[in-house]
């Protein structure tokens, strides 16, 4: 009973009702006491009036308690103290009684009302804290920003009947309401919201809709960046609400940030899974195609080299089978490379290394494919270290050399040279022959585009497209041109970057190594 009285807040009842309660309480006491007036001493009567003040203070607060004190003294004087029905005082000590009674009433009333106010304030805080706790729990389990928005709106509605709007940045950094609740928070100036978000300080503005509400605009501060704003329209000016709103904003930003990172993590995981899937499909395919090709190549080769010697014609056929198998293998390799390079981000294993080494490796790999085309290499020894994926750049060089050999007349030399620019190093592979058709210098790097469609040279038009993908993945560029000296040239450049420092090692003294 007491707690239910205590927990009833002042503002929930209109002032008229509370002062009426004070008057009514005094009336009830008078009506109750009058019939027993002759049996009661005056001090007993005073006690009842004091009790009334306490009850009024408990139920209706400070103001009504003051009214009940004054009214009580007046009624006591008028109705109970002789001469009755007059405010005249016949007996001087009665004046003292009235004074003491008034003072005691006022003090008791104020103390009681203060106690009640404290209790109700504590209860209010507890309720808010409980609400915040519930909200925190709800937000921790939220799986989407819509759910966050909904929980916050319900919390504010329950606590302060305050409408709110949660605005989060879109992909292009504009603020957008998660859910538009028609008219609850008047459309705020976007520039104002952006200002709050960027200044990272809360702001209070009148709602301007005639309700006298104040709109609190709170920035949602994330650990890494600002996550948006929360606008709350509160009915009254409450000084102590600031920290509460800050706590609320912190809760919401944590939830929004958590959701953001969950999203990021899921996207990354998805990408990793699809990358893994892609790579395992490609290697399974590669294995499945290469196994029979290896068998075909090896079996044909064993006919060519192995005893017993075959008749010439059969031997020629076996050689042809072997060479065709090798060609199919080359095409499969190109197709797989293209699939790997074009179906997703290329993962590079970049390391700092000399260009000379990868050139040597690709020439050795090509081996007999370059037969009849002497390769001249110039100016590689003095190049700075470059950072690249050796396997992929080897592929580029092999394709360029192979292409050059394919389209050069027999015996024509292939030239590889290099030019060091301020930001890049350019490598050029020049072949003899007629060069590229001038109208196709750009298009030769397109997939399935062949520079010399009319020639009898076989190929699928993948080689140069692979080169372009690889070079571009390294942040470089590739171009084709016909140098004035004749022939065709493909040049690609790689960024120089900042090579690591190399500590040079002194030559040993003569006596050390002899």
């Amino acid at each position: 009973m007491l707690s239910s009285i205590l927990l009833t807040e002042d503002r929930k009842r209109p002032a008229g009702w509370r002062y009426g309660l004070a008057v009514l309480a005094c009336g009830v006491v008078v009506a109750g006491l009058l019939p027993f007036r002759t049996h009661l001493d005056l001090p007993n009567t005073v006690m009842f009036f004091l009790l009334t003040v306490v009850v009024v203070a408990l139920m209706a607060g400070r103001g009504p308690a003051v009214l009940a004190s004054v009214l009580g003294v007046a009624l006591f004087d008028f109705l109970f103290v002789p001469p009755r029905f007059s405010f005249e005082v016949s007996h001087a000590p009665h004046l003292l009684t009235f004074a003491v009674m008034l003072v005691v009433s006022l003090i008791v009333g104020q103390l009681t009302a203060g106690l009640r106010a404290q209790a109700s304030e504590a209860a209010r805080r507890e309720r808010v804290a409980r609400g915040l706790y519930g909200l925190a729990r709800e937000l921790a389990g939220a799986v989407g920003v819509e759910q966050v928005d909904e929980s916050v709106a319900r919390f504010l509605q329950e606590q302060w009947s305050a409408p709110c709007r949660l605005l989060l940045p879109t992909a292009d950094e504009h603020l957008q309401a998660v859910h538009e609740r028609g008219g609850v928070v008047p459309a705020l100036d976007v520039a104002l919201l952006m200002k709050v978000r960027d200044a990272q300080r809360p702001l209070q503005v009148p709602a301007g809709d005639g309700t006298g509400r104040q709109v609190h605009v709170l920035p949602l501060l994330g650990a890494t960046r600002n996550r948006g704003v929360l606008a709350v329209a509160l009915a009254e000016r409450a000084d102590d609400i600031g920290p509460l709103l800050e706590a609320l904003a912190a809760l919401v930003s944590t939830a929004v940030e958590r959701l953001h990172f969950v999203e990021v993590a899921q996207a990354a995981q998805l990408e990793a899974v699809s990358e893994r899937l892609r790579s395992s499909i490609l290697s399974a395919f590669s294995h499945d195609v290469r196994t029979p090709l290896t068998a075909l190549y090896g079996l044909a080769d064993s006919l060519v080299v192995g005893p017993p010697p075959l008749p010439d014609q059969a031997r020629d056929i076996a050689e042809a089978i072997r060479d065709q198998a090798l060609r199919v293998n080359g095409m499969v390799g190109n197709l797989l490379d293209m699939a790997r390079l074009q179906t997703g981000p290329v993962s590079l294993r970049k390391e700092w290394q000399p260009v000379e080494e990868v050139v040597g490796a690709s020439l050795k790999l090509l081996g007999s494919a370059l037969e009849g085309h002497p390769v001249r290499v110039a100016g590689l020894a003095d190049l700075p270290l470059l950072e690249f994926d050796a396997v992929l750049i080897e592929r580029v060089l092999c394709n360029l050399f192979e292409n050059a050999a394919k389209y050069s007349p027999p015996g024509a030399a292939i030239l590889l040279d290099a030019a060091v620019g301020p930001l890049t190093v350019e490598l050029r592979v020049t072949s003899g022959g007629g060069g590229f058709p001038p109208d196709k210098l750009e298009k030769v790097f397109d997939l399935f585009e062949r520079g010399h469609a009319e020639t009898a040279v076989v190929g699928m038009g993948i080689g140069l497209a692979i080169c372009r993908s690889i070079v571009e993945a390294h942040g470089g560029a590739i171009r084709a041109f016909n140098p004035p000296e004749g022939g065709g040239c493909v040049a690609f450049c790689l960024p120089r970057g900042t090579p690591p420092l190399i500590e040079s090692e002194a030559l040993p003294l003569e006596d050390e190594l002899g």
């Binding site: 294995h287 090709l293 068998a295 590689l380 002899g514």
Partner: protein
């Protein structure tokens, strides 16, 4: 060389068939296995002098086989692998395999590798020769002298140590990791550019055409192979 026992672990019958016939035509004996498990059992039974191991076995990882095999045998292991699996190759070479052949391969290539590895395997019990010559270079390890066309070549201590490690492992593919560990005493990949630079130095000092080396060969993405 004749009569050496070769263990061939490969799951594809047609590949086994031509590899076997090529080896037998050379007078070698061949034992076959289809899986890693079978391969280990067969290795214990036939004590091969050389193992030819396919990297794409149905029951997995070639590196695991080499690990288990190396526990009791030092016989060389030649790996057959598809291109574009450099990282699997590095794994199996680091585990102790000696060389690899990329599919598809010709019989000539296969036999050349097999012969080189068998020679290496047989040479191992004796101490390494104190004098080695390749091309027009002569190295005398006892005197720590390197000569090219009769002229002394000056090497830095690290270059000399790298040369010694490469020559001692002639014919074997050495991964970047292994070389860094042997020469610099560390297994981190962070300094692999040092290794590349020093191999470049050796090429410039000892090769006729450093851009097209004949002895200090690059196994791109994997490591180096020194060839006599």
């Amino acid at each position: 060389m004749k009569d050496a026992m070769i263990l061939l672990i490969e799951d594809e019958r047609q590949i086994r068939r031509f590899v076997r016939s090529a080896l037998e035509n050379e007078g070698l004996r061949v034992s076959e296995a289809e899986t890693r498990r079978e391969g280990l059992l067969a290795a214990g039974r036939c004590q091969p002098e050389l193992v030819i191991l396919d990297l794409g076995l149905p029951d997995g990882d070639g590196a695991k086989f080499v690990d288990d095999f190396r526990a009791w045998s030092a016989a060389p292991v030649l790996v057959l692998s598809a291109r574009s699996t450099e990282y699997d190759k590095i794994g199996v070479l680091d585990a102790g395999a000696d060389d690899y052949l990329t599919k598809p391969f010709s019989i000539g290539e296969l036999l050349a590798r097999v012969r080189a590895l068998l020679r290496r395997g047989r040479a191992r019990p004796g101490a390494e020769a104190s004098r080695v010559s390749f091309g027009d270079v002569e190295v005398d390890f006892a005197l720590r002298q390197v000569q090219r066309r009769g002229e002394p070549v000056r090497l830095t201590p690290l270059e000399y140590r790298l040369l010694a490690v490469l020559v001692a492992n002639a014919g074997k593919v050495m991964t970047h990791r292994q070389l860094l560990h042997e020469v610099w005493g560390q297994a981190t990949g962070d300094n692999s550019h040092y290794l590349r630079i020093y191999v470049g130095h050796l090429r410039h000092k000892l090769e006729d055409d450093p851009a097209q080396p004949r002895h200090f060969l690059t196994e791109t993405g994997v490591g180096y192979r020194f060839q006599l």
